[in-house]
């Protein structure tokens, strides 16, 4: 039987329109919800981001510094830092921090703290950090960072410098080349679970962070550096010196091969950085009156200005009255009539004083400036001092004579060694450099260090004469303790008094020896300075010359080009 549909009454029809209205409202609500979801309020978005997402800074690896033979001198290794989010942190958990971090740190976090972020400790080694990470303490979080490490500890620490806790260079090469070595930290987005624990569910979107830091290859030879540091430390300790400096350069191109400063410093232990005396790089950051090691330079100025020549002779009677002062020799010993070579061999102050009288002061000042005194050497190191050199207007009375014997002028060991390098290489003052190559993150060379002549400070003939004279200083003169049977060394000793408050203090000296080898065709120029040695022996010829000789002999075991040691013969062309 077919079903007969009844006509719907009017009131039911009306109820249908009610349903339609209800549907319409629901649609409106759905559209509204969709609209809120798709176009949310900025404040809501911020709040939700805070709640569910954590942006964690991930430090990138700092660029490597290697020596000329690609031995790494400074590397960055993974480390872990810990922080606390007080929102999720239970102060009762502070007891768990006692064992790994100590009582003081645990005490600090045993009470309610304001804010959302508090560091506990930075850069904990991975092994130590893993124990704590495994405990999963609520509110305690970790961040992976990189810590700068110097694997050879004290080796080359003064030239490498060091970094702060955020891996930013603070001294030495680390600071000078920070723009290449430093890679800024990146942000990695992590999700938080209900307990605030971070989870990396972003996958490939947070991705592998590309390292943008470059690397640096130095001109330093770590073997030379090690030898130099050992010998300098030994000597400084034996003579009880307050400070020491040594630097060895290649006179043909200005490469710094080794650079050492005493007291030594291990930058891996940050508590060592409190000692300002140890942090200072004495090679560039310490100025001192050079004493007699300055004589080869002033003598070459006298020759170049025509005030002296090979036939000049000087009569030394032990003392000499000059203006209101008396110039004298050590122990007032008279050297008699001497030529230029003997003035240098005897380190004769009177001879140099007489010589200074014939040199026009403006010309002498100009040439000293050309030698690089009173200016930075432009080596890639921060904290370099310019030294002190009086202007020609102040060259009155005994000032020129004092400058000619190496007093009344203050220089850095690096300035001295570069000036002597100009004698060794035939008269060219070179710019010293430490960086052989700079590579970008893809290994492409973006900078190369090289020979750069600053001035031609003397003629090749004058340089040759000075080399011969300095060779005789070692073989027959005051530098005999630097004489070696194995290699021919040329050099000059120096013992300078130290001025404090405008007066020279008795018993305080700087003992130095500057020289080069092989004397006939120099390959290395080096200076050794020992500041304020205490004891009976304080002359440069007594304490600095023997170190110079031992370093030179040790280096000769290595160079040239790593030949097998045993029956080694160095062949030199005349």
């Amino acid at each position: 039987m077919p079903r007969i549909k009844k006509n719907e009454p009017e009131n039911i029809r009306r109820s249908k329109s009610v349903w339609r209205a209800a549907y319409f409202i629901l649609i409106l609500l759905a559209v509204g919800t969709a609209w809120i979801q798709l176009k949310p309020d900025a404040r809501v978005v911020r709040q939700s981001h805070k709640q569910y997402w954590a942006s964690v800074a991930v430090s990138a690896s700092r660029g490597e510094i290697t020596d000329r033979n690609n031995i790494p001198l400074a590397v960055s290794i993974p480390a872990t830092s810990f922080f606390i989010d007080p929102k999720y942190w239970d102060p009762k958990s502070a007891d768990l921090l006692v064992k790994p971090f100590g009582k003081n740190i645990a005490m600090k976090f045993s009470k309610n703290l304001p804010g959302r972020f508090h560091w506990i400790i930075r850069n904990v080694p991975k092994g130590k950090a893993e124990k704590l990470v495994n405990q999963e303490i609520p509110g305690l979080y970790k961040i992976n960072e990189k810590i700068r490490v110097y694997p050879h500890k004290e080796l080359a620490s003064h030239l490498l410098g060091f970094c702060d806790i955020d891996d930013y260079g603070q001294a030495g090469i680390e600071l000078a080349w920070n723009h290449i070595l430093f890679s800024p930290p990146r942000t990695r987005f992590l999700t938080r679970d209900s307990k605030g624990k971070t989870l990396d569910i972003m996958g490939g979107k947070s991705g592998v962070l590309k390292n943008t830091s470059g690397s640096i290859r130095l001109t330093i030879d770590s073997r030379f550096q090690q030898i130099m540091e050992w010998r300098l430390n030994e000597a400084a300790k034996a003579t009880n010196s307050s400070w020491g400096a040594a630097v060895c350069v290649d006179p043909t191109n200005g490469e710094i091969l080794a650079l050492a400063s005493y007291p030594a410093l291990d930058p891996n232990d940050r508590t060592n950085l409190k000692d300002q005396n140890a942090v200072r790089n004495n090679v560039v950051g310490r100025v001192f009156e050079p004493g007699s090691i300055f004589k080869p330079i002033t003598m070459s100025i006298a020759i170049e200005t025509g005030a002296a020549n090979k036939n000049s002779s000087y009569n030394c009677r032990g003392t000499m009255k000059l203006f209101d002062k008396t110039m004298s020799e050590v122990n007032k010993k008279a050297h008699g009539v001497q030529d230029l070579t003997h003035v240098l061999m005897n380190s004769c102050n009177i001879g140099m004083t007489i010589m200074s009288m014939g040199v026009p002061k403006h010309q002498a000042y100009g040439m000293l400036k050309q030698f690089g005194f009173g200016e930075k050497t432009e080596a890639e190191l921060f904290g370099e001092e310019v030294g002190l050199i009086k202007s020609p207007e102040e060259w009155l009375g005994t000032v020129p004579a004092n400058i000619f014997i190496g007093q009344g002028i203050a220089i850095t060991p690096l300035q001295a060694v570069m000036a002597i390098a100009s004698i060794a290489n035939g008269g060219a003052l070179l710019k010293p450099y430490l960086v052989a190559e700079v590579l970008d993150s893809d290994g492409k060379v973006i900078h190369k260090g090289g020979r750069r002549v600053r001035y031609q400070v003397m003629s090749a003939k004058t340089a040759e004469f000075m080399r011969e004279a300095m060779k005789r200083v070692v073989s027959e003169g005051g530098g005999k303790q630097a004489f070696s049977e194995k290699i021919s060394i040329a050099g000059k000793t120096g013992t300078a008094q130290i001025a404090t408050g405008g007066q020279y203090v008795k018993g305080q000296y700087v003992a130095s020896f500057v020289g080069f080898w092989p004397a006939e065709k120099p390959k290395y120029v080096m200076i050794i300075s020992l500041g304020e040695p205490k004891g009976a022996r304080y002359y440069g010829g007594q304490i600095a010359a023997p170190i110079f000789k031992s370093i030179a002999e040790d280096i000769s075991q290595i160079s040239p080009s790593d030949e097998p040691i045993g029956s080694k013969v160095n062949i030199e062309a005349n």
């Binding site: 001198l73 590397v75 050879h152 080796l155 490939g204 002999e553 160095n570 005349n574």
Partner: protein, 133 residues
Amino acid sequence: MRYTEFRHEIERPRSSLFVVCFLSVFICAAALGTLRLYGLYLEHRISETASRIEVSRECNLEMSKKYSELLSPARIYSYARKELGMINAENIKTVKVNNSDIMLAKAVVYPLEEKTGFLDYLNPFVRKAHAKN
């Protein structure tokens, strides 16, 4: 009245079209869903690979530290002296040779007719190129 009676017969083709459309949409949605899931799976794998790269990189950094510690001159010197008993050579001598003598020596060492071609350096026994001298 007739229209009301046979309405279900008239609507049949429409409903089948609706089912086809619904199925198409469903299949498309399912396909998109599957693709999204596959995308998530790939992302997960990328994440895993990225973390493996990170771990390898960290391992590499640790090893580079160990490597440089092994190359430390202080370690090598002390090992050579203490363990191997090595001392500095005392029989180093400097021989001074005139430039003219060096030129003469060079002239004697190198023959006038230099071998230049690859075949000249081919060792007939091992059939490989060998170094001069």
